[in-house]
Symmetry: C2
């Protein structure tokens, strides 16, 4: 690899992430991504064999930051596990209730690629969602919540539902409704 | 309008619905839709001023059939309101657990058009989701469920979450998990 290849790769992924998220997977062209990253298309294709590989790299780059953000929200909320879950939904409602927010990038990518089963980005997105569910299971278990795996599974459906309905109606009342249900699952005997 | 203009319009919408659903909003071209409908592009643009208008017409064409399908599932399930809700999720899991199923067309369209606020198809999609929530509120109220509007709102988040997670993992266990939560909301005192 040429010197600074890692930094170049990172610059390309950052540019791709911004354009894929803001414009959509199919709408954002490789040309526009190369231009935004300040590299030639040849350099881009040195790092990524195809646009499909670049879409997968975009989602992979969002995996850890997303997990860390939710872990921060969970840990920063004081009180019972139910309070913490309420806090996560409240923080999500706040962050989503802006013009800049355009939905969950993982969900939008899955929606756009629904006709290409086996696409590397679908695998990267599904792997992220599994890691998220695992993180939530562990976090709830650590807080002493019984049957944490079952409850975490139900909460991820509520979170993804909240993100989806928020994209449709742009109304945080749906996120609050989902948060109430999620908190009650944690409180249940 | 020329004779049979209504039938021509319907043929175009049917072709558009199939291609938009199977390939995605941006991936399906107006040329391919005209060809599938067996009309010229001039005829297509006689009925629809733009592709955007055609995307909205696609979602509008799916509004009533979708409402009727869910109403049928709800009514066909015997027993308590909670049983009926369980039945709806079970039927949805069955219908989604096929290679042919590619997610909820309303949600996928919202995902693809996230960067175009005010798009006519986003309005059509949001109007459908509001009608769905209203239908569910009325159906639960008719069954004697108290606070039907609050419960219906929570259930639509669970249903959209189930559809989204099903698209990600292709695993009906998530739909069942959502259905259990939804049924418990209806059973709650």
């Amino acid at each position: 690899m040429p010197p600074n290849a890692d930094q170049t790769r990172e610059r390309i992924v950052t540019a791709a992430a911004r354009l894929f998220y803001n414009e959509g997977i199919r709408a954002a062209s490789v040309d526009a991504i190369a231009e935004k990253a300040g590299v030639t298309k040849k350099t881009l294709y040195y790092h990524f064999r195809s646009k499909d590989e670049l879409i997968a790299a975009y989602l992979e780059s969002r995996d850890q930051p997303t997990l860390e953000l939710y872990a921060r929200w969970f840990e920063a909320t004081p009180g019972t596990p139910a309070n913490k879950i309420r806090g996560v939904f409240a923080e999500f409602a706040r962050s989503a209730n802006t013009a800049r927010w355009k939905g969950c990038g993982f969900l939008r990518t899955a929606a756009e690629l629904a006709n290409t089963p086996g696409h590397p980005a679908l695998k990267a997105g599904a792997a992220h969602k599994k890691r998220f569910e695992k993180w939530l299971t562990d976090a709830l278990g650590h807080e002493g919540v019984r049957d944490a795996a079952t409850i975490a599974r139900r909460i991820v459906v509520l979170l993804d539902g909240a993100a989806t309905v928020m994209l449709i109606h742009r109304d945080p009342a749906y996120v609050e409704a989902a948060g109430e249900v999620a908190a009650s699952l944690v409180e249940a005997p």
